[in-house]
């Protein structure tokens, strides 16, 4: 178990920063990303799966993605502006613009949270982590063409989910 603790600390050292960045992107909140990051590493330090994982970094990354989407599915709807430390790189001229953009990003991430395993994995890896289809295929042991097809279907599914979500909002208004 002490060995696992050491392994977890090594993981934190080697990939803590990119995992934190990814959690920030998936939660759109540094506070929540910090909490999830802590939860992630405590879970990893207690996980027998980590002992057996051939690629501990990939294991931790996958666990982080699952944790973030689990958080996204479970949390209640809320309104919370972006923290000033976590602004999009592009210019946002007004506070209202920031809020509107945050809401839009929440919508697309909430829709992604409803996707099934591989589709969600591909969306995160390709569009958020910016990996090529070939890289994703290599990591997941799949054919690049298959990954491309999964990605296209996932995007279409997000579109359907967003459309339904927007219709509900329109009806409420």
């Amino acid at each position: 178990m002490r060995e696992r603790q050491k392994k977890t600390l090594d993981l934190l050292q080697s990939c803590g920063t990119p995992l934190y960045a990814m959690l920030t992107r998936l939660t759109l909140s540094e506070n929540d990303a910090g909490d999830l990051m802590q939860e992630l590493f405590i879970r990893l330090s207690q996980s027998k799966g980590l002992d057996k994982a051939k690629d501990p970094i990939a294991y931790a990354r996958r666990a982080a993605v699952n944790l973030a989407f689990e958080w996204r599915r479970k949390r209640k709807a809320r309104f919370e502006p972006l923290g000033h430390h976590c602004m999009p790189a592009q210019n946002q001229p007004s506070a209202l613009g920031t809020v509107i953009q945050k809401e839009q990003l929440e919508q697309v991430l909430d829709a992604a949270a409803k996707l099934k395993g591989l589709a969600r994995e591909v969306i995160v890896m390709h569009y958020i982590e910016r990996q090529s289809y070939e890289q994703i295929a290599g990591r997941l042991g799949k054919n690049p063409a298959h990954i491309r097809s999964v990605s296209a279907k996932a995007l279409a599914r997000i579109r359907v989910l967003l459309r339904g979500q927007l219709r509900r909002q329109d009806a409420e208004e």
């Binding site: 178990m1 279409a156 927007l166």
Partner: protein, 548 residues
């Protein structure tokens, strides 16, 4: 707007991909997690939690529960419930509040923190008593349920002090449950961030009941004297001393309490509401309830978090609809100097003829990794240790903790980590000695060793071994086993094994037990020789297959 095209989705995903966290904040958070992981004892995934995990959410509390748990061996039927997965949101809540509190301790000036702990008398009639009346319980069953449930009373709190080697000491702040009027303990701290110097004083009824400070060269700490007075001692810091990296965790409002919730199996936050303090300060209030042994939630914490800065303004412990304990942040402000010198030379400690305060501090609730000599000299009864451990076990580690069920006595937990997961935990305490003496007649004698030990089995071992193994820092295995030992001196160590041992393995372990006092002087070779010269022990009929 009910239509959204693929271009818009890609644009939003692109915006998400471009988000960049603040590097300094990320580094601070990662560093905090690293320290949290380093401070946590390594454990496996907790299996399905039982009611005892709820009772014994912290390691310290588990030790407390372990002290009384065997008193109800025959009642395990009442003590299980369907398992559920519990998130660690309370831990997250307090960690987050503690992180927010760090800002208070980061200034250039001395920070002065004042908290008050208001202890209210218990309500006259608890709902538990009514519920127990409805059940057809024997007197013993009822007494047991009441005793174990009393661990939810929170009539004590853990507090830390800093030792000369930079490590924390764990103490018990005893809150007198018998008082008929509310009373207040004032908890003050002064902290000088640039130098790490600090003072912490707990005071009630005009008397200082706890003191701890660091002046840059020595640490100063209070120790209770047998005559009831509190003395101030000092110790020069050791070469490896470092000041606490996170003063909020040490001096903040959640200090001590945070250690209660650092296990994943602590009951979750069940309700979040908005509210205000009496002065109108907006709050978010988190409720965290403890199911009692009958599954009802009559006991809960309310954590009141300031909306403006995320720190905890108040923590209220409620029982049977009435507050029992209110811990409130009165002030946190920057000052130019502390009213006392850092070495506490001008602090007047409580004298022997002073009126007894309503609360006092029992030092060293839990002392990890103590020496064999410490156990021998502290126990007050004959203690035993494995003179040699087989190759599959690591060397024994001894922890010393307060024996809550036998006030004033200490309990010793000997853990041996196993390479194959079959960890061993042996408890020795006055409480167990008394308890096993009364129940051993119902157990089954399995083996008698030539060194005078008797090994007993039977009973609801799954139940108590779970408590012992968890308290020892291990995740209980499904096939865990437990035994009671009767020593030649008439004491009753308990032996929990996180798996199954063959008769041969059990025999080796039991045969290797020697009085701890004897192992202090002879050489290990002498002891090994002595064990090897022992005649074979005797297994009872039907248990004599060495590979069984």
């Amino acid at each position: 707007m009910t239509e959204i095209d693929e271009k818009e989705i890609l644009s939003r995903l692109e915006a998400v991909a471009q988000l960049k966290p603040d590097p300094a904040r990320a580094a601070a958070r990662i560093d905090h997690i690293r320290r949290t992981l380093t401070a946590r004892p390594p454990t496996d995934i907790p299996p399905t939690p039982s009611i005892f995990q709820t009772i014994a959410g912290s390691r310290a509390l588990r030790f407390a529960a372990a002290a009384v748990v065997l008193a109800g061996v025959s009642l395990s039927v009442y003590l299980t419930r369907p398992g559920k997965t519990t998130p660690i949101t309370c831990f997250t809540l307090l960690s987050r509040a503690c992180a927010a509190e760090q800002a208070i301790f980061a200034g250039e000036n001395i920070v002065h923190i004042v908290n008050t702990i208001t202890v209210h008398p218990p309500t006259a009639q608890s709902p538990l008593a009514e519920r127990l009346d409805q059940l057809n319980l024997t007197r013993g069953q009822r007494r047991y349920l009441q005793t174990v449930n009393s661990w939810l009373d929170f009539n004590w709190m853990p507090i830390y002090s800093l030792a000369a080697d930079g490590q924390f000491r764990f103490h018990e702040l005893k809150l007198s449950p018998g008082a008929d009027q509310p009373y207040v303990i004032t908890d003050q701290a002064w902290y000088d961030a640039p130098t790490g110097r600090f003072i912490r004083l707990l005071e009630t009824a005009g008397k200082i009941i706890f003191a701890n400070s660091y002046d840059g060269r020595s640490v100063y700490f209070s120790e209770p004297h047998p005559d009831g007075s509190v003395h101030l001692l000092s110790e020069r810091i050791t070469s490896d001393f470092i000041t606490p990296q996170n003063p909020a965790r040490f001096l903040g409002i959640t200090a001590g309490l945070q250690s209660f919730v650092e296990q994943d199996d602590y009951p979750p936050i069940t309700e979040v509401t908005e509210g205000t303090l009496e002065d109108g300060l907006p709050l978010r209030i988190y409720k965290q309830g403890f199911p009692d042994l009958l599954g009802d939630i009559n006991t809960y914490w309310l954590f009141k978090v300031r909306a403006d800065n995320g720190t905890i303004a108040e923590m209220e412990f409620v029982q049977a609809g009435a507050p029992r304990l209110v811990i409130r942040r009165q002030s946190a402000r920057s000052v130019t100097s502390a009213p006392y010198s850092w070495d506490l030379a001008d602090v007047r400690m409580q004298t022997a003829d002073a009126n007894s305060p309503a609360a006092d501090v029992t030092p060293d609730m839990w002392i990890p990794d103590v020496s064999l000599r410490h156990m021998v000299e502290t126990a007050g009864f004959d203690t035993y240790i494995f003179a040699s451990t087989p190759s599959w076990l690591e060397e024994p580690v001894i922890s010393d903790m307060a024996d809550f069920a036998s006030p004033g006595r200490r309990m010793f937990c000997i853990t041996c980590q196993a390479n194959d997961g079959r960890h061993i935990v042996m408890y020795q305490s006055q409480t167990f000695n008394k308890f096993f003496a009364s129940i051993i007649k119902h157990a089954r004698l399995l083996y008698t060793s030539a060194n005078g030990f008797k090994l007993y089995g039977g009973g609801p071992e799954k139940w108590w071994t779970e408590i012992h193994l968890r308290a020892g820092g291990f995740t209980p295995a499904e096939d865990r086993t437990g035994y009671a030992l009767q020593s030649p001196a008439g004491t009753f160590p308990s032996l929990a094994v996180n798996g199954r041992l063959t008769n041969k393995e059990l025999e080796t372990l039991v045969d290797s037990l020697v009085p701890a006092a004897e192992i202090l002087d002879p050489s290990p070779q002498d002891l090994q020789q002595r064990i090897e010269n022992l005649p074979p022990g005797k297994w009872q009929d039907g248990n004599n297959d060495p590979n069984n």
